[in-house]
Amino acid sequence: MSMTITEKILAAHAGKSGVEPGEILDVKLDVALANDITAPLSLEEFDKVGAKGVFDPEKVVLVLDHFTPNKDIISAENCKTIREFAHKYGITNFYEGGACGIEHALLPEEGLVLPGDVVIGADSHTCTYGALGAFATGVGSTDLTYGMVTGTLWLKVPESIKFVCHGKWQKWVTGKDLILHIIGRIGVEGALYAAMEFHGEAISTLSMDSRFTIANMAIEAGGKNGIFHVDKKTEEFVTGRAKRPYTVFESDKDAKYREVHEIDVGKLELQVSLPFLPSNAKDVREVRNVAIDQSVIGSCTNGRLEDLGIAAEILRGKKVAKHVRCIVIPATPKIYRTALDRGYFEIFLDAGCIISPPTCGPCLGGHMGVLARGERAVSTTNRNFVGRMGHPESEVYLAGAAVAAASAIKGEIAHPEEVL
């Protein structure tokens, strides 16, 4: 029976030779992840059910990345509880302090998620790992507790939607622009409950960093997972990081898809998604006279080296507009150090940027860059919902690093050409 990559991974983890969309499976997990805002509820359930341990201390990953460095007493208390839990149950992959990065950049970097894996995480952007050819999906804290204790979880096999991307990328255009364009095309529930599978020569030429960005935002179209095939770039990325064997799965040529979308990336311009939905995607050239107060370059979506490199290229020798706070957030300690070694920090500091430690902070209006009433940010993050970055009457415009950097210089939403 012909299957998609998603169906094959789920079948293999359920001990079945074939599965179909709609089937409910009890699936074995390779990784179960939680962070400092979802773990506390999960640990409450863990205690309530009387669990005596986790299914595998090496496969449970706890990352304190959201309200850290601890923003207030209650956040500090939560981190303390999680730390004690990690000690008590011997969780080897517990990340905090100087070892901590934004989870969805950190786990692939550390080789904790690999091609062919099934990963659940109590964080909706867990779908990021699909860039590695893994099945990864977000769950709530209760499902995570179940997964953490038993090493399994029930999952419904999703239908798949295929996105075939052709053409040659224009200057500055990255995976962020493609995924914003796709969400604009299919809508915020265009892939509801479905797997989003990415194909085509334009994907082969795309960096791993951009693939992570695309998979990351599958949830913004309602997707259960986003997924890519393993190629040379994936193998290069995984080599030296993987500490265990992994399996490469591939969709069959005659696999069934709910829809197929063709996209010519050659025609794709830099995108900006206007408040208050990620689907409000427009060409940046159509977004005129939108003054900003803040520019955020970071997050699990766009806090990787490619993003920081693009920002540095645009900000080199330039100044951030006087009234704008430009906050740069390298997503992990390794990215932070490499950006430093490459001289990006000097560029950012000379330009007047703020360099933040790795944290999810401002993306969800947590800390380190919260917006006041009436303020407006351009941000490389993933959500522009009402009040997402602070006051309910503030606004977030989503974009990639190129637009965020150019806008920081101009003081309004801008194409890099306007400032270079």
Binding site: I24, I37, T38, P40, L41, E44, E45, K48, V49, G50, A51, K52, H66, F67, D72, I74, S75, N78, G121, A122, D123, S124, T126, G138, V139, G140, S141, T142, D143, T145, Y146, V149, T150, W154, V188, E189, L192, Y193, I219, G222, K224, L277, L364, G365, G366, V370, R383, F385, V386, G387, R388, P392
Partner: protein, 163 residues
């Protein structure tokens, strides 16, 4: 099970940042979470809503983050049920896991705030002023899970049987 209550109407794409803004996520106390439910678009919702009332929404209700604080906040206000045209998938699982019932039915354009509805939960029957519809059936697997007393009760029994 028959439920009776008043309607609180919301639109499409009610995301989890609306249901419970992220700045409150360090809290796990249902009371605290409930007191900020829907705050960005309806700051007094938590005061006006009464135990047993229902939320009626449009498409993609509960989209956004995986935060289980969202169904917890709704439940904390005594709301036992959300009816919407469609639900985001993580919110859907979380709600059933927490004991918040969800029914998929397209009634949002036919109700107004304060309308009295009578719900036959398992049959999916929804009756009110000018409305007599049957919601999309709750999937059999979810019914089984409900009959088990929810995922955590199922897990608890599994662990006890092992011990």
């Amino acid at each position: 099970m028959i439920l009776k209550g008043r309607v609180w109407k919301f639109g499409d794409n009610i995301d989890t940042d609306i249901i419970i803004p992220a700045r409150y996520l360090a809290h796990t106390d249902p009371k605290v979470l409930g007191s900020h439910c829907m705050e960005p678009i309806a700051p007094d919702f938590h005061e006006k809503v009464a135990k047993g009332d229902f939320i009626v929404g449009g498409s993609n209700f509960g989209c956004g983050s995986s935060r289980e604080h969202a169904p917890i906040a709704i439940l904390a206000l005594g709301i036992p049920l959300v009816i919407a045209r469609s639900f985001a998938r993580i919110f859907y699982r979380n709600s059933f896991n927490k004991g918040l019932a969800l029914l998929e039915a397209d009634i949002v354009d036919r109700v107004k705030d304060g309308d009295q509805l009578e719900i036959d939960l398992l049959a999916g029957g929804i009756a009110g002023p000018g409305i007599d519809v049957v919601a999309k059936p709750i999937p059999p697997f979810m019914i089984e899970l409900i009959n088990e007393g929810g995922l955590m009760n199922y897990l608890k029994r599994r662990l006890e049987a092992r011990a």
